[in-house]
Symmetry: D3
Subunit: 200 residues, 6 copies
């Protein structure tokens, strides 16, 4: 039996969690706005994309086989602090200082996940970024971002070149299948291509 | 070793999957629009919410313990056909006939998940709705919808009473922790309450 | 005396018709959205443009002189089924199959025009597409679409090249004044021109 | 042979007309904005609704039978000057003075319809408002507006009471079937009803 | 003691002024819309920018030193008539005639500023455009517009070339520091540059 | 001669200032979004309103007569740091801690106003809030906010009751004419009134 076995009446715990997490639907990913993309994806939609990438990476990873359940748990909660803190633009974070931002993110996650200690652990695992599962999610976070950038470029919504200028973005963190994907994304970028955003 | 172990060059398989799935970010949940909600949540944001609920239900389910990985796999793909078919409004589906819609959904899922047979199986398991894991996702799909309806009511966006009129919505499909949640949702509805949509 | 002579109390028939038809104002032409045009014209605005083109074609058609009243009646109702069915994107129609879509369109028109048999006849005449008047409206539907595509291109809203790739679009269906118009549209397309979208 | 029979090369006349008239799609009906309705119907969508009402009135008018073609011609052009002048809000018109506004509207219509004298006549007939056909369109213009007001009220978009306060709005101008419709609209207003804006 | 010393109870004068002036927040600068810019700056935001430029010009003007308070008073009220008249697009003004528009603007300002005679004087001073302070605001109005045009061009929102075609725009009206600014703006235009609209 | 007398070539200083300050046009006042107001006023529009109120207060203040120029200088720059930091929602500020936020605001203002030391002083004077002129702007900031809240309530956009719950908001800071205005605002709130948001 795990710690979260419901005591009578904790239905409200789920509803409160949900009412907070649902804010992610209305909160924009601000990095896109800075590039001039109007009405960009929400944080919730970003998490959805990250989960698809992360599960694909887990399913295609050679030995040692990652724990796909753990990968999905981590991906699902990895941006949950933003339900309280919003997606602070990078220059805003720089002004505020890494320390203040980190502490605020931790506090937000603690508050939102107060009744769910094992979910809280998954959030912490992501931030530490050491386990294979956490690294897969971190890489998936970048891949989703780069794919979205190429999509916005094709739709002529904003200038996304900066996302491909920073080599650190393409760090595969030892996640093998990510290498080929980063290469494919860079090739799309160089050749001005992306998958047709028309329907099939 | 599983079936999806990458052959060289299949990075494009992921990017193509992603470029299709990312449409879910731009596609609105049309049920809300019919109720008068402007710019409602996207399908991607809905899936994000369903995953949170589904994992919570799995973590709080008494014996037999559900397979949480399976639950998340099913939740992640359960609306993927809508990336091609869009979220057809219920009255449109009625005009088109259940048979035509079902066939189109199957074809869309087959097309999108052509290179991922095990994901395709999770989609099929959801539609059959027999396993505990599939039933958890189906119930989570309803719970996310009802919570969203209460949120929109509190924000005075549209008239959502119809969602609480249909008893079938509240079928717990044998998922035990869902009963208390449905009760809590109905109580919120009756008493005109919801969690403050202001930030904490 | 015609069939629609009002019996006392049928004012509600008009209001119900209107309340349905007015949905066309809020429903987007989805073909533009697929090309990346945000907030494109509504179906109602499209019908408005088609009526202008159709009447112009009727007024400029050599012998035999078309029945301009008939042309306008047909144009006015030609997309009315979409008030119930919405403007299903072409790929969605392909997934659903022509048969299912055709049947649903007929049912929608029957339902909306139940109290107006002569309007229902005009809708049917459009779909059969045989009379000169129906052919004029069909050609006007294409001309309005191509002109709109050129306008969106000039406004740098989306990629509309596909609309000029399909030769079938330019079928004049024997409507003589349409030939010169299609030529003019193709010339505009080739030369990257359109009328200044600034005010005069 | 009528005056508009095309000389070679006048395809551009239609395209220029269309490029101007299409502005009506992007121009909002400002009366709604003043009432607090965000993103209200466009002028083009308004004209579309007026045409439906006008044709219905013509089809349901007792002896003498109106000329339905004439009714539709008048309805189609009745707001065309707004493609150049925009829909000036009533208080703006009052500040500018009726004379200046009338003169500007005439000039705009002359300019837009320079190559279409018979369309220009229909516009003038509307403004004079004497013939049965012109009166039908004037009454249809009011009916469409009142129905839209009730629709916006039901959708909780803005405060539309002022539209029902002005008795002059309900002048039937001798168009018999309009009386019952005005009564029905007033009844809906008093009883707080409108047709369900949900889909059928 | 000046004329506006409050009599008891005139708090409502401020609130009424404010409730009118706040409309400027919701009213778009229509010149941008004509160029294809969606959701452009409001009139209020424009005034905000003009004030920054005007104060900068005043602070950097050589002898004779302008009255900075007067400059700010003039800038603050210079577009206040638009709270009633809206920002009529230039082609609309041309159709209406300069005389009718001027008279309407005067009346609107008189109405809004009825209780504030000294503010009314500042408005009149702007329109006469003779004093150094009024000329500074007129030049600031152009500079803000040109800078905004360059910003929209960089964001790929609309075609703003026309704003740089009209030599009259660049009339410095004897305001010395404006010359170098106009030169800098023209250089940015020619070289396709603007300040990065990304955050610092 | 003051410190800002332009050296040749500092036109770019103005343009850079402007390019940063113009971000305030696109940045929403987040307090309204938290209350459910969609597309609320921008920071630039807020500043515009604050300037109107501040100047009115200065013009109506009994002895000692405030320095109106100083009041307007302070009002114009009082939120300029938000051009870099954005309008952080109050709960976000609480998570980050007052110290981190204050420091970041100071740094942002220093950066934006690096070439304008006297403007920088006005910003600092506002934050210290001791002089009569700074207190007038602080009170104007509250009055504009409360008036906007009443306007949004009347437009049925969001729930603004919280703004009237906090007594601290109504601190007049010794600015005499503010007392009657706060009373008038509270009366409007209690009685459910506001000035008609329709045009005059």
């Amino acid at each position: 039996m795990n710690d979260q076995r419901p005591a009578p009446g904790n239905a409200n715990d789920l509803l409160r969690l949900l009412s907070r997490a649902e804010r992610l639907e209305a909160l924009p990913r601000t990095g896109w706005q800075i590039c001039g993309v109007e009405r960009p994806e929400s944080i919730a939609a970003h998490v959805h994309g990250v989960m698809l990438v992360a599960l694909w990476l887990a399913d295609h990873h050679p030995e040692p086989t990652p724990d796909a359940e753990r990968v999905m748990r981590i991906a699902l909660v990895h941006d949950l602090s933003e339900a309280m803190l919003t997606d602070l633009p990078r220059p805003v974070k720089q002004l505020l200082g890494k320390e203040a931002v980190d502490r605020a993110e931790e506090q937000a996650a603690d508050h939102i996940l107060a009744t769910l200690p094992s979910w809280r652990d998954a959030y912490r695992e992501y931030r530490e970024g050491k386990t294979l599962e956490a690294r897969i999610v971190k890489v998936a976070d970048r891949i989703q971002m780069l794919a979205k950038a190429l999509e916005y470029r094709q739709q002529k919504r904003g200038d996304i070149s900066r996302f491909f200028d920073d080599d650190e973005t393409f760090d595969d963190r030892g996640v093998e299948p990510a290498r080929a994907i980063f290469d494919a994304l860079r090739t799309c970028y160089r050749e001005g291509r992306w998958f047709d955003f028309h329907f099939d």
